[in-house]
Amino acid sequence: MNIKRLIIVAVGGQGNLLASKVLGEAACRQEIPVRMSEIHGMAQRGGVVESAMIFGDAQSTIISDGEADIMVGFEPLETLRAIKKCNSKSTVITSTSPLPPFTAAIGKGVYPDMESIKSMIRQRVGRLITLDANVLAKEAGSELSVNIVLLGALIAVDVLPVTADSVQEAIRETTKKSFAEINLKAFDLGRAAVKA
């Protein structure tokens, strides 16, 4: 099977690991070989959380610089920071809702403006898709479903072999019942944002 490499990058607390888990479960449902790795511990105290997922017959669980086929960023600055994982053909999906790091608040660095973030990414990769995941998550019923909105966008670009049906099933099984309906709506809104 053709190997596909995905990087998901987020700020601690944005639900990156749950999104990866749902996607992994969905791949398992379709019998697609999948492996992923993530970083826990010190990195979680407000830092960046990155997970790598590899679909197809590879044994590695991490992705080298320049080798991601697709990257999903939950926060625009972190998408830009992680861009070295991509090459000129990679597809990048990023939310445009900023979460400025504390260093910017205390004047140690300036958060770049959104248009320049977008153009710096767009110039370097094959395809850039942007959406305001926070707005869509609120529309779905909870700010916490930013992760599932972006999962919807990821499935809609059709780079991975995972289908929307299997992700929807995985959402129903993996996320709390009270939250499943909101998440399914968030997933649809994310997909629609890319297709529109």
Partner: protein
């Protein structure tokens, strides 16, 4: 039912490596487990803790790794299959027990899991614990994936019982924290109670006994060597004339590289999964007909040394390489692209490396370092110490936990750290070797782990130090595990006692002890000033539960604060506290109400009293 107790052999589950390891132990009939938590091993024991609440498994969080290993050693010598889980540096703490336990051996299987951390994602060093196999003489198994780790745990128990000695299972972060599909096997019914047959001339390690036991250990080594040479975990793949010897995650990178480079017919691979003793005869067989051999291993040249020694015995003179300036580093972790590039250049294969995007033109981006949480009581305490110690030349040894982050600006408090408990011992040394006041920081769990002997030392030798114990009622950094000072009844967990830090400190004979609530800044500063003025050992115990834990237990009661129009932009709140709930909008300081926990610390330090509770 806990998902790892699912009794459906053949069912597939998408498991974290650490879950796969826990499941492997359950399938092997684990009866007893002990640990001190440490990343990247913590989820193994977190699962055992949950499982122990609904099965016959005995599990405990021990006070430190040495105690954990002693506890498990006794269980194993009572015939119960036992496991002891720790991070790599935890083995240093347990090493005293380990080295002589290797002599004494076990009756029931004992598997000691050491989780190494190449690149130090969450550790103070990246030591390679395979050398503990050499040092102790005990067997080491090393998996390349979660699925294999699950099988290996089962095999490790059999091996331990066959050799009647503990077996080390060595993982690295990318095994512990990778997730992949794992197939459940059968669960063996655990034996949770055994008996200890007295045999002091084999169990009480006085010199005359140990001399005999060392002979036994070396004899066991010979058996282990035979088993390593024939182990299914040491296997050869392919039959090319170039050889690659690899282990652990490196095997995955090698396999992917050989396929990506399309050189399957040119390469043969020796994967080492039973790495102590190294399979000497198998290595010699592998080297036969090898024009060139490359050893691919993260960390130290542990295998490379063994391979070169095996080659020398047989007069094999073709090149064997591993570590080197143009080859592999002893530093940090490997990645697939790097391994692919090194294999291509070493053997002379054509290769067009991936081209990462060009980063020139991207400005320096504001960093996002880890930070103490909004409302963290450590921040309040550090602020109070900074204020109380103004004008007093001082050194501040710190310790291992979330509070280590206090060394970062703007709090910038934390000067020296080497290991768990070192804040107290090094504080003793700084107080004698310099003329500065010493203020040491230690967390509650770390205090129980290894801070107490240092404090006794300080009292006995009459050092002049102030120890600040940051008691947040949990082991926060590794995921809120309990420790002896935790009120387990409050967590609705029966069957535990509670050890009071205050009683321990007073029992040691510390001359000045103060208890404070760190959110009360004025009183905290006063208490620290008083402690600093005391000549001798003083202890300040700052009690406030971890906000992150309170949040998950739904115990957070505070209401968020906001910045009113009284603000004159002094920015003491941002510049001195650095709480992540603050942000700047235009030139105005704002508080993110969703992050603010209502601790009220910033409101107490604002010179204009401009920070006020949000009105309902």
């Amino acid at each position: 039912m806990h998902k790892l107790l699912t009794d459906k052999p053949g069912e597939k589950a998408f498991l974290l490596g650490n879950e796969a390891i826990a499941r492997g132990a359950i399938e092997a009939g684990l009866g007893f487990a002990s640990t001190y938590p440490g990343t990247p091993s913590s989820e193994i024991s977190a699962n055992f803790f949950q499982i122990s609440r609904e099965s016959d498994l005995y599990f405990e969080y021990s006070t430190n790794e040495k105690v954990a290993l002693e506890v498990a050693a006794a269980a194993a010598n009572s015939g119960v299959r036992s496991m002891c889980i720790m991070k790599h540096v935890g083995v240093n703490v347990a090493a005293d027990a380990l080295m002589t336990l290797a002599y004494v051996g076990v009756r029931g299987g004992l598997v000691i899991l050491t989780a190494d951390d190449p690149f130090m994602f969450s550790s103070q060093n990246e030591q390679d614990n395979r050398y503990y196999g050499k040092l102790s003489g005990l067997p080491i198994l090393e998996p390349s994936s979660g699925e294999e780790a699950k099988e290996m745990v089962d095999h490790a128990f059999d091996l331990s019982e066959r050799l009647q000695e503990p077996v080390l299972l060595r993982t690295t972060t990318r095994i512990n924290h990778s997730t992949s599909p794992v197939i459940f096997g059968k669960i063996r019914k655990p034996v949770t109670k055994g008996d200890f047959a007295k045999d002091p001339f084999n169990y009480v390690t006085v010199p005359a006994v140990s001399r005999k036991l060392h002979v036994k250990l070396l004899k066991n080594y010979e058996t282990a060597l035979e088993l390593s040479n024939s182990s299914s975990y040491n296997f050869i793949e392919g039959n090319g004339s170039f050889g690659i010897i690899c282990n652990g995650v490196s095997y995955n990178y090698v396999k992917d590289a050989v396929r990506d480079l399309d050189v399957e017919n040119k390469i043969k691979i020796l994967r080492i999964g039973f790495s102590h003793p190294m399979p000497n005869a198998l290595i010699q067989k592998f080297l036969q007909g090898c024009q060139k051999a490359l050893v691919v291993e993260e960390g130290e040249p542990y295998m490379e040394e063994a391979v070169k020694s095996a080659a020398q015995e047989k007069g094999f003179t073709n090149p064997i390489n591993g570590k080197g300036p143009d080859l592999f580093s002893r530093l940090f972790e490997f990645d697939p692209g790097m391994v692919r590039a090194k294999i291509a250049s070493y053997f002379g294969f054509a290769y067009a490396p991936a081209a990462p995007v060009d980063l020139t033109g991207i400005p320096d981006l504001p960093q996002r370092p880890p930070n103490l949480c909004a409302g963290c009581s450590h921040r309040a305490m550090f602020y109070a110490v900074n204020k109380a110690a103004e004008g007093i030349p001082n050194i501040r040894p710190t310790d291992i936990g979330c509070y280590t982050l206090g060394f970062l600006p703007p709090l910038s408090t934390g000067d020296f750290l080497i290991c768990m408990g070192s804040s107290v011992g090094t504080g003793c040394g700084f107080s004698k070797a310099t003329n500065k006041k010493v203020i040491s920081y230690i967390g509650d769990s770390t205090f129980f782990h290894s801070g107490i002997p240092g404090l006794i030392n300080a009292v006995f030798n009459n050092h002049d130090i102030t120890l600040v114990i940051l008691d947040n009622h949990t082991t926060a950094m590794t995921g809120h595990q309990p420790h002896p000072g935790v009120d387990m009844q409050e967590l609705k967990l029966e069957g535990f006692n509670r050890v009071s830090i205050e009683s321990v400190v007073k029992g040691i004979g510390v001359g000045h002890v103060a208890m404070i609530r760190p959110y009360n800044i004025k009183k905290s500063i006063a208490a620290i000033r008083e402690a600093l003025a005391y000549k001798g050992v003083s202890v300040v115990i700052a009690q406030q539960s971890c906000v992150l834990m309170d949040k998950s237990l739904k115990k957070l009661r505070g209401k968020p604060f906001c910045v009113s129009d009284r603000c004159k932009n002094h920015r003491n709140c941002i510049n001195d506290l650095g709480c992540p709930a603050f942000y700047v909008e235009g030139s105005a300081v704002r508080i993110n109400a969703a992050l603010c926990t209502g601790c009220g610390v910033c409101a107490q330090i604002c010179p204009e009293h401009a920070i006020v509770p949000v009105k309902d």
